[in-house]
C-alpha cells in the first residue's frame, strides 16, 4: 500500500484546524469593552438583528452569543454547562429547568431592579419563588381554539360558545352536517384541559396548585371534574381517539385545508395558515367554561432571561444593562418585530394580528395557565405521566378519576 497519499492527507488535515479555529475566548478586550456570554434559545435568524440593535445602543458591551435549539437540547446543553462551571452570563430559564436552577441558586434575584417594574407581574413571578424573581420574561404565548367561520356558519354558529355544554352541542351539530367538528393534538398536555384547570385555578386563592403541592388537596379532588368534562368529547363520539397520534402541525394543516372546523392553536399557526389558505375566514376563541366558570386560555410566560449568579460583578452589571435594554420599549419593539410574540411590558403596545385579539388581552393580563409551569416540583415527571395517562383515557383504557389518581401517586413517589 502506497503510504504517500495517506501522509499527504494527514498533513492536510493537520493544517485545516489552524485555518478553522476562530477566536474563541470571551475575555474582555483591551478596548474597554466588557464581553458577556449568552446562550440563546431564540434562533440565530431572529436573534441577530436584536443583538445588533443592542450593540448600537450600548457599544461598550459585546455579547458573545451561542445557540441551542429549544427545548430539550437547550436544557441539556445548559445543564451540562452549569454543571461544569462554564455556564454563560446570560441564559434562559424555562419551565423545564426552573426548579433545578432555583434550588441550585444559579440565578440572580432580579426583583429589585428598575427594568422589571414595567413587566407584567404574572410573567416575572412565573420564574420566581417566594417573592424573588429570577427570569426576565418579556412575552407570553397563549393557545386557544381556532375556528373556521364559514364551517361554523353552516350550522348557524358565529363563534366559540361560552360554555362547555354548548360547545359539545355545536360539535354534534357539525358532525351531523358531515363536518369534522374538532381535532386536538394530544402529543402534549391538551390545550383544552390546561384552560379548564386554569379557569378553575384563576378563581381560587390559594391557587389549585398551592393546595395540591402542600398536601391540602389532591389531583383527584381538583382534576377529576375537568377531566370528565373533557373526556365527553371522546365518550360521546364527537372526536376520534386517533388524536393521540396527532401533533400541532398536522392539526394545523387539516384546518388550513378546511377539513376541520375547530382546532387547538396558538399564534404560531397564523402565518402558515395565512400563507396556505389566504382566503380562509377564521379567528381565535377561548376555551369554553365548565362549572359556571369563565372561558380561559392555556399559555405561559415565555422563558425568562436570567443572570448567572456565579459570574463576577462586572459581568453581572453588564448583563443587567443587557436585560434592561431588552425590557426597554426599544428592546421590546425590536424583539417583537423579530419574533412576533405578544410582549407584556406596560410601556409598549405590541401589534397583534386581528384574529388573535381576544387572546392578546389574556396574555397581557396574565390570565394564562399551563400545568407544567404552575406545578411546583417534579414538573417533567408529572407532565410525562399526565400526557400518557390522558392518552390512555382517550383510548378508553382508564377513567378520568384513575388519571387523576395516577398523578397523585406519581407526585407522592417523586
Amino acid at each position: 500500500m502506497n503510504k504517500r497519499p495517506l501522509l499527504a492527507a494527514a498533513a492536510l488535515l493537520a493544517a485545516v484546524p489552524l485555518a478553522l479555529s476562530g477566536c474563541s475566548s470571551s475575555d474582555d478586550g483591551a478596548d474597554g469593552k466588557t464581553t458577556i456570554t449568552f446562550l440563546s434559545w431564540t434562533g440565530e435568524e431572529q436573534m441577530t438583528p436584536i443583538l445588533d440593535a443592542f450593540s448600537k445602543a450600548h457599544p461598550e458591551i459585546k455579547v458573545d452569543v451561542s445557540y441551542s435549539p429549544p427545548v430539550a437540547e437547550y436544557i441539556q446543553t445548559l445543564q451540562t454547562q452549569v454543571l461544569s462551571g462554564i455556564a454563560p452570563d446570560v441564559f434562559l430559564v424555562a419551565a423545564e429547568n426552573k426548579t433545578n436552577l432555583i434550588e441550585g441558586g444559579h440565578m440572580l434575584d432580579l426583583s429589585g431592579e428598575d427594568f422589571v417594574k414595567n413587566v407584567e407581574p404574572f410573567n416575572m413571578n412565573t420564574y420566581g419563588r417566594d417573592g424573588a424573581q429570577y427570569g426576565l420574561s418579556l412575552s407570553s404565548w397563549a393557545a386557544g381554539y381556532a375556528y373556521n367561520e364559514d364551517l361554523l356558519a353552516e350550522v348557524g354558529a358565529t363563534g366559540i360558545p361560552e360554555t362547555w355544554d354548548e360547545f359539545l352541542d355545536l360539535c354534534e351539530k357539525l358532525q351531523d352536517a358531515g363536518i369534522t367538528p374538532f381535532l386536538e393534538s394530544v402529543d402534549q398536555m391538551p390545550t383544552t384541559l390546561s384552560a379548564m384547570i386554569g379557569a378553575k385555578s384563576h378563581s381560587m386563592d390559594p391557587t389549585l396548585d398551592d393546595l395540591i403541592f402542600s398536601g391540602e388537596s389532591t389531583f383527584e379532588a381538583e382534576w377529576t371534574g375537568a377531566l370528565t368534562e373533557y373526556n365527553k368529547l371522546y365518550t360521546e363520539g364527537l372526536v376520534s381517539p386517533d388524536v393521540v397520534a396527532l401533533d400541532g402541525d398536522m392539526v394545523r394543516d387539516e384546518f388550513a385545508a378546511g377539513r376541520v372546523a375547530i382546532i387547538n392553536a396558538g399564534p404560531w399557526i397564523i402565518n402558515p395558515v395565512k400563507e396556505a389558505a389566504p382566503d380562509l375566514n377564521w379567528s381565535f376563541g377561548k376555551i369554553p367554561a365548565i362549572d359556571g366558570g369563565e372561558p380561559f386560555v392555556a399559555g405561559a410566560a415565555s422563558p425568562g432571561y436570567a443572570i448567572n449568579s456565579a459570574s463576577d460583578e462586572a459581568h453581572q452589571e453588564a448583563a443587567k444593562v443587557f436585560l434592561s435594554w431588552l425590557a426597554s420599549p426599544e428592546g421590546v419593539e425590536t424583539f417583537q418585530a423579530q419574533t412576533g410574540d405578544v410582549t407584556v411590558t406596560s410601556d409598549f403596545e405590541p401589534p397583534v394580528d386581528p384574529v388573535f385579539t381576544t387572546m392578546g388581552e389574556s396574555i397581557r393580563n396574565g390570565e394564562l395557565y399551563l400545568p407544567m409551569i404552575s406545578w411546583q416540583r417534579s414538573e417533567d415527571v408529572l407532565n410525562v405521566e399526565a400526557v400518557a395517562q390522558i392518552q390512555r383515557m382517550i383510548q378508553g383504557q382508564s377513567t378520568p378519576q384513575e388519571v387523576a389518581q395516577a398523578l397523585d401517586a406519581k407526585l407522592a413517589a417523586s
Binding site: M1, K3, A9, A10, L13, V16, P17, L20, G22, S24, L39, W41, T42, G43, E44, E45, S66, Y67, S68, P69, P70, V71, E73, Q76, T77, Q79, T80, Q81, L83, S84, G85, I86, W141, G248, D249, R252, D253, A256, A257, G266, W268, I269, P272, E275, A276, A277
Partner: protein, 274 residues
Amino acid sequence: MTRPLRRRIVLSVVMIALALFVAIPLYFIVINTFKTQAGMVGSPLAPPTELFFGNYHDVFTDPRIYRSFLNTLYVTAAAVLLQLLVGALAAYAMIMHTSRLNTVIANLLLIGFVVPGQSTLIPLYRMLVGMKLVDDLNGLIIMYLGGSIFCYFLIQGYMRTLPYEMIEAARIDGAGALRIFWSVVLPLIKPILVTVGVFQTMWVWNDFLIPTVFISSPAKRTVVLQVYNAVSEFTTDWPMFMTVSVVALIPMVIFFIFTQRHIVSGLLAGGVKG
C-alpha cells in the same frame, strides 16, 4: 430470450420495485424541498405543482452552510481515519497473539457496546471541559474515537475468516509486526475496512447528540446542527428543515455510491488457495 437473461430481468424488476417502495420516505423528503411551507400544508405527497427553488436558494446563499460543511468534513475525516487505524491495530493484535490477557481484554471491550450514551454524557462533558476541548472540533474527534471499539469488533470478525498463509510467509521472512500490518494485513482486509469506514463516516457525519451538547458557537457547527436551526420552540419550518437535511445528505449519498464498488470488490474468487 435465454433463461439466465430472463431471470436477471425478473430479478431487476423485483429488486427495483422493492427498493423504490423502501425509498418512499426519501421521495417524500425530496419533493417537499421544492415546495413552500404553504404548498406542503396542502398536499404533502403530491409532486410540487411548480418547482420552488427558494429553499435551496436560501440554503446555498447562506455562508454558514459552507462553514458547517468544512467543520463536518474535518471532524469526519479525522475521526474515521483514526478509528479505523486504532480498530485495525487492535484487531490484528488480537489475532496475532492469543493469550489469556488478550481474551479478557477482548471481552471487556464489548462493554463499550452496552453503555447507553445518556449515562456517560455528563462525565465526558466535564472531562472535556477540564481539557478545554469543549466547543472545539478536536473535542468532537476525541468523543468519536469511542467508535474505534466498533471498528475493532467488525474488523476482527472479518480477520478471523481469512487464511493466514500470507502472514505466516511474511513472518518467516523476518518482517517486523508493523511492516506485516501495513503491507500485508491492511490490503487483505480492504473490504471490511471500506465497509466499516463507510459506516463510521455515515455515523459521524450525521451524528446529532454529540455536537448538540459539545458545540455551541455557530462558527463550529456541524452540518446536522445547521439543520436544526430551522427548529423553533413551537413549530418547525418543515421545507427548510428538509432542504438543509437533503443538502447535508447529498455528500453522504455521493460518498456511498462511490465507495460501494469497493465494498464488493473483495478477494477474487478463489484468489487465496488453501
